[in-house]
């Protein structure tokens, strides 16, 4: 039986974790794989920690949520504290290195804990709005649920209409995706 890859993406409302989770699992589905994605949501309309639970497999997927993830990506201090519960000795835990005063809250039991400067790169080198696409690149590199060309196809499918309006957005998004992969590649 093929292993199911389990990913928990967590950030502040508005950081776009749900959108990239949707694009990522959509890419896996388009490739004919089984994918299941469930957002965690509360009664609040905005704000709060937003978690996306994703599973990708070659077989039908069991329960929509899981106890432990293969990959956790946490993008704020609250997101780090919220998601350490999904970590065990098989988990790669990625967080944004710009989060302050988080050292003590990082998981101690993970297979690997990796800080990446995604927010900085987005702000200084690319554009703050592609922050989540950098994260998507990192998630794909860490799990290989799909490969880069398929991820680009999925972005094209989702954002193609925006790319038509402003052609500069296409290379910007694709660069962000590659940059995300690059940020984690050496550290895995």
């Amino acid at each position: 039986m093929a292993k199911t890859v389990k990913i928990a993406l967590a950030g502040e409302g508005g950081q776009g974790v749900q959108s990239v989770a949707g694009i990522m699992v959509g890419a896996a589905n388009d490739k004919g794989r089984e994918a299941l994605y469930i957002p965690n949501f509360g009664v609040e309309q905005r704000g709060g920690v937003s978690v996306a639970f994703c599973q990708i497999s070659d077989d039908k997927i069991g329960s929509p949520k899981f106890k432990k993830a293969d990959l956790v990506i946490a993008l704020s201090d609250r997101a780090v504290r919220r998601t350490t519960q999904y970590v065990d000795e098989n988990t790669v835990f990625i967080y944004d290195s710009s989060i302050e005063d988080i050292e003590d809250d990082l998981p101690k039991n993970a297979k690997k804990v990796i800080g990446i400067p995604a927010l900085d790169v987005a702000k200084k080198e690319l554009h703050p709005r592609v922050f989540n696409v950098i994260i998507m690149g990192a998630a794909i590199e860490a799990t290989h649920i799909v490969e880069m060309p398929e991820a680009k196809e999925a972005l094209e499918k989702k954002l193609g209409y925006k790319f038509e309006q402003n052609p500069k957005l296409r290379p910007l998004n694709f660069t962000a995706l590659e940059k995300g992969a690059e940020l984690v590649k050496e550290l895995l």
Binding site: N29, A35, P39, N40, V43, G62, F66, K67
Partner: protein
């Protein structure tokens, strides 16, 4: 008439709420009545977006009391009508659902369970099992399908309309917030391509001709004057329900033939139970799983037979014993020990089932 919403069959990847809307379209539902409540909202959203293209109707009412009664009204006028709700909305809808029981109104209601009691969470639970099966001042003359996948959600919404119109009992498709909000793959199809014909609908009111002259009078009542009169009517309902039950009841078994431990679960928890059984069997542990698809009518005889051969039952649900009571009622008289695994308002994963089963050995 507008062309069919789905031609042939195709693989899609969507949320359960979207699935429910597409299924109702494919099932030739004429109209939805509804009032928004999370996590069911998008059934309405998708329906309102899709239905105008196919000449179907929608009415947003002022609350769920009204949504339930207008659905009854739609059905009485001969429309294939449905509604959808959750949580406190399901509570408000119960009065109209008992009217549907009493007057044999074949409506369809999709329930996406959220946490309770009261407002609680908008996320997930199996805490509306009792209410959906037995709510209101009725006797549970209802059909309740408890689904676990998007494919089943699609299949049973379509089937639900036919069950309702065949047997004329209100029919529920009992999902939950996970099923409402998650995305997974399924195949949607035109029912005709699977040999499924939609059962014809007919009006109960506004019929042609003079009652008593051209046709028999329609006798639609939910009010009775004497105990004897009511007793006779309810006895007929009981007899009709019991006659129909064996034709309606559905369940699934997984590795129960030689199972010493049988996990009993319904709805989305069956996914975790199925995965856990697979994993535990690989380790040589004799565990099986029984899953009622219909909670009303309940597959009592089938469960009883399996339970009588087992050394232990474990009832698992995301509620504090609502399903457990149905199980115990069904197998009354057996001495097979029963363990409870209750997680009210919380999801249950295959990992924790595996751990629990092993710990108890």
């Amino acid at each position: 008439m507008a062309e069919k919403p789905i031609q042939g069959e195709k693989r899609v990847f969507m949320t359960g709420n979207e699935v429910a809307a597409w299924a109702a379209l494919a099932a030739e539902a004429d109209i939805m009545y509804g009032y928004p409540i999370t996590p069911q909202n998008e059934i309405m959203h998708y329906w309102t977006r899709l239905s105008p293209k196919f000449d179907r109707g929608f009415l947003q009412t002022e609350d769920e009391i009204s949504a339930g009664f207008t659905t009854c009204g739609g059905v009485l006028s001969g429309k294939r009508a449905f509604t959808a709700t959750a949580g406190p909305g399901n509570t408000l809808m119960q009065e109209s659902m008992t009217m549907a029981e009493m007057m044999r109104i074949p409506l369809v209601c999709v329930v996406q369970q959220r946490g309770g009691p009261s407002t609680a969470t908008v996320i997930y639970s199996q805490q509306e099992a009792t209410m959906t099966c037995y709510g209101g001042n009725g006797e549970g003359f209802r059909i309740v399908y408890s689904t676990s996948t998007h494919q089943e959600l699609y299949d049973y919404v379509i089937k639900g309309f036919n069950t309702a119109w065949t047997y004329r009992f209100p029919t529920f498709v009992l999902g939950d917030g996970y099923q409402a909000k998650m995305r997974e793959s399924l195949h949607i199809y035109d029912p005709a391509t699977k040999g499924i014909n939609m059962v014809a609908t007919e009006p109960s009111l506004g019929l042609e001709g003079t009652p008593g002259v051209d046709r028999d009078p329609q006798h639609l009542r939910n009010t009775y004057n004497t105990e004897e009169e009511l007793y006779e009517v309810v006895s007929e309902l009981v007899a009709d329900y019991e006659k129909a039950a064996p034709e309606i009841v559905e369940y699934q078994t997984f590795d129960t033939d030689d199972a010493e431990i049988v996990i009993v679960a319904h709805g989305i928890v069956t996914r975790a139970a199925q995965a856990a059984v697979k994993e535990l069997r690989e380790e040589g542990i004799k565990v099986g799983h029984f899953r009622p698809i219909t909670l009303r009518p309940f597959p009592a005889n089938e469960l009883k037979e399996i339970a009588s051969k087992a050394k232990k039952l474990i009832v698992m649900e995301s509620a504090q014993g609502q399903f457990d009571r149905m199980v115990k009622h069904a197998i009354y008289g057996l001495t097979t020990p029963i363990e409870d695994y209750f997680k009210p308002g919380m999801g249950i994963t295959s990992e924790e089932i595996v751990e629990y089963v092993k710990k108890g050995m």
